[in-house]
């Protein structure tokens, strides 16, 4: 096996990954960047994001206000220094993307248009109709093609972070097409692999969101932070889980129960006069409470409420929410111009992830992470809509720059040890293909999904979480006996699924473990047995680290700069 050598190894080619790649080559034109992605980059899940990306640009807005909204939305678990960095760089990053050709929607005077979004006090969400993530990703992908020093390894699956002398020096990755394992070596590694929504059965996430980078970092000894905080988006289509963007509420849509009431106003769910534009955790909880009170609609895929857009009119819907209209018509047979759309809470985003500081650096030298797979943390216990696309840009750029600085200042490592590790990975992959065993991938995956949904739903309590943790631990044991049918090397997607399932089991274990031990309710983590927020005991980040005899849970302090903790009322 020969090593493939570059300076910076990027894993993942979505919004954060491509931004990091461009930032690295712009920071230092002598560096060569490898972009290792299990997908062609334009297929990355960033492409499905719809609503928008927040950045404070209007006269009636300020960086402090964006920071305050974000912090309050996070239920004060976000690190304030990171939030300050985030809001300061948000407008610049969004403008940079505009310079690169992103077709942001415009005001009549030619300036970029902004709209309201959940939890935001003023209009600050930049948007490209209702396909913002799509336009952002394609702009980044097309712009990245300008740089010859970004070398793409499309459809290469990274299976392990290679560590030598206490430093991350690359990844072992196999070419899905040939089945051949490679050692991709460099002086810094950046993980931009996205979240892990697929550990749940009902999610807006694409098939590929299996927490690969999180698992890789975890197995390399880096901690996973705040994993218990899983965002349920209030408006997913029943059955498929397809996302109905928050922008539909930002443009004035209503949520109604089976009595035709706008329940967020009618009953006290803590969103105040924000109503439908309350933060996502509160709106999702409200919907579940409506179901529990018997005010939900019943359907073959569970209960749901109505998202009403009829009063917006056909012209506005076609202009601002055309994709929403198309999706509703295709997948639930409803034309939102005439009828309400059925929606229910759906797993959407992981606030938690690989523990990094505000430069994207982990505590393993040479290893960086950015985007949904990382936890900086700016989202704390609950993320505000339209902050994550901006997060990809701001921290993707920062991690790219930081990795470039690190790479410039460090020497290329020796090849022997990493090549040895890569050869072990090759052997592991060979053993996995066509492996004999009694368990089936699809069956373990289904049982995992069932466990996470019953243990880590919108409302949680001790017994179901403990049971879920027990199940996940058992499933990990059963996974060792998984059997595969496909022995081939060329484009074997069964072995890819097996590797992804292994990653999902590790991530799910971290999620449930952190959840069962956090004895309070904060943001998206809501417990019926501990229903209030407890700053005295629980104002801290959870951290899960790998150990041979089972994951170790610890805690680390939240960074505070200027804002005092408040009760979270809207």
């Amino acid at each position: 096996m020969d090593a493939i050598r570059h300076d910076i190894i990027l894993v993942g080619g979505g919004g954060a990954g491509l931004r990091a790649a461009i930032a690295a080559v712009e920071a230092n034109p002598k560096l060569s960047v490898a972009c290792v992605s299990k997908l062609y980059p334009m297929r990355s899940h960033t492409v499905s994001a719809e609503g928008g990306a927040a950045g404070a640009v209007r006269e009636d807005d300020s960086l402090d206000l964006h920071a305050y909204d974000t912090l309050k939305g996070s239920d004060y678990l976000a690190d304030q220094d990171a939030v300050e960095y985030f809001v300061e760089h948000a407008p610049k990053e969004l403008t940079q993307l505009e310079h690169w050709g992103c077709p942001w929607s415009r005001e009549k005077d030619g300036r970029v248009a902004v709209r309201f979004f959940g939890g935001m006090t003023v209009k600050r969400t930049w948007y490209a109709t209702d396909k913002t993530g799509f336009h952002m990703l394609h702009t980044l992908f097309q712009t990245s093609m300008k740089y010859d020093r970004i070398v793409r390894y499309d459809e290469y699956f990274a299976t392990k972070i290679l560590v030598d002398n206490g430093r991350a020096v690359g990844v072992a990755a196999f070419d899905i097409r040939t089945g051949k394992m490679h050692a991709v070596l460099g002086r810094a590694v950046i993980l931009c692999t996205g979240g892990a929504g697929r550990i749940f059965p009902f999610t807006t996430n694409a098939a590929v969101k299996t927490g690969d980078g999180m698992a890789l970092a975890y197995r390399a000894g880096v901690g996973l932070k705040d994993m218990e905080f899983v965002q349920y988006h209030p408006t997913g289509l029943p059955g498929t889980g397809i996302l109905m963007t928050e922008a539909s509420r930002g443009e004035g849509g209503y949520l109604k129960n089976n009595k035709g009431e706008r329940f967020l106003i009618e009953y006290d769910y803590g969103v105040g006069n924000k109503a439908e534009l309350g933060p996502r955790d509160m709106v999702s909880r409200a919907e579940i409470r409506e179901f529990q009170a018997g005010r939900g609609f019943k359907g073959p895929y569970g209960e749901y409420v109505h998202l009403e857009l009829m009063h917006l009119g056909e012209e506005k819907i076609d202009k601002r929410l055309p994709f929403v209209r198309e999706l509703a018509k295709n997948y639930v047979g409803v034309d939102p111009v005439w009828s309400p759309i059925p929606v229910r809470p759906v797993v959407h985003y992981m606030m938690g992830g690989v523990d990094t500081d505000k430069h994207g650096a982990t505590d393993l030298p040479g290893l960086y992470a950015a985007g949904e797979c990382a936890c900086v943390s700016i989202n704390g216990a609950n993320r505000l809509g339209s902050n994550s696309l901006t997060e990809c840009l701001v921290f993707g750029a920062r991690a790219g720059q930081a990795a470039a600085e690190f790479a410039a200042g460090s020497s290329a490592g020796a090849e022997n040890a990493p090549l040895e590790q890569a050869r072990s990975e090759e052997a592991r992959l060979d053993r996995l293909r066509g492996k004999h065993g009694g368990e089936k991938i699809a069956q373990i995956r289904r049982e995992l999904n069932h466990a996470t949904e019953s243990g880590c739903g919108v409302f949680r309590e001790e017994d179901s979480m403990s049971a879920a943790l027990e199940t996940v631990t058992q499933l990990k044991g059963r996974f060792a006996d998984v059997g595969l049918s496909d022995k081939s090397a060329i484009f074997n997607t069964e072995v890819v699924q097996a590797l992804e399932l292994g990653h999902m089991l590790d991530v799910a274990e971290a999620v449930v473990l952190s959840a069962v031990h956090r004895k309070e309710s904060r943001g998206a983590h809501t417990r019926t047995d501990y229903p209030t927020r407890d700053d005295a005991q629980w104002w801290k980040h959870s951290l899960v680290k790998f150990a041979p005899d089972g994951p170790r849970l610890s805690y680390k302090p939240v960074v505070k700069t200027r804002w005092e903790l408040e009760e979270r009322k809207y």
């Binding site: 297929r43 310079h99 690169w100 050709g101 498929t240």
Partner: protein, 246 residues
């Protein structure tokens, strides 16, 4: 919810064991609201895990799952089983070499996209601190439609020209180049001219219009190509300058 048993004939190709592609048949219990992709996943999960196919978002925006269903190029995540009667035939996209089962070789396609220089080209870049380039909603409308391409390559599968001239740059690439040419912030259409004007560029198109017929996102690449032809001719004959606007 009703279940219906549907027979799927899927073209398989395992290079390590198959001389050439061969059809295999699967009976799948399908729910009423399933798409063809759901059936393929059911085959992979529970019937034949050796089936390889690409998919990701399952909502028609990532472009991964393009295949031929009963001979027509579609996104399998948007092809509803209820709209087909009888046996459903699933094959990989035409006009592309087959790597494995329903997976085709797309590297050539991505290279063609790159060849039209799909990025903003300007003589002088504005500093980010000075804010955005002003662009009116009307100026945005001019190229917006052509920016909606999800790179699913259905247009390449449908194009009869590509069957005989595989070097043709193709509908998606030309539409993308045209998108940048029309963007008021771009000044680079002279740079794209060479590729668009070449033998394999816009003039290889002979008005089949099939690309626009199959495009799931209503990009209308055929329109982009005809507009690009006219622009190209006017520039080639010097009736229109190549170096464009600020």
């Amino acid at each position: 919810m009703q279940l219906r048993k549907v027979k799927f004939e899927v073209l398989r190709f395992r290079p390590e064991q198959d001389e050439k592609p061969v059809f295999e048949s699967y009976d799948v219990e399908c729910m009423e609201d399933w798409v063809v992709l759901d059936a393929l996943n059911a085959i992979k999960d529970d019937i034949d895990p050796t089936l390889s196919h690409r998919w990701s978002c399952r909502m028609g925006v990532c472009g991964s799952c393009g295949m031929l269903v009963n001979g027509r190029p579609v996104l399998t995540c948007a092809a509803f089983v209820r709209n087909y009667s009888g046996t459903i035939r699933v094959e990989p996209l035409s006009n592309f070499p087959i790597v494995r089962d329903l997976v085709v070789e797309l590297d050539g396609f991505v290279e063609k996209i790159k060849s039209v220089k799909p990025w903003i080209i300007r003589k002088l870049e504005k500093d980010v601190a000075e804010g955005e380039y002003r662009q009116s909603p009307e100026q945005l409308e001019e190229f917006k439609q052509f920016s909606m391409c999800i790179n699913c390559a259905l247009c390449y599968a449908a194009c009869p020209v590509l069957a005989n001239e595989p070097e043709f740059v193709g509908p998606a690439a030309i539409a993308l180049g045209h998108r940048y040419n029309l963007d008021s912030r771009d000044e680079g259409n002279a740079e794209r001219f060479a590729v668009l004007d070449s033998h394999d560029g816009v003039y290889a198109c002979s008005y089949a219009n099939e690309c626009s017929q199959v495009c799931p996102k209503h990009v209308d690449p055929a329109m982009a190509i005809q507009q690009a032809k006219l622009t190209d001719f006017l520039q080639w004959s010097h009736l229109l300058p190549k170096r464009s606007f600020t």
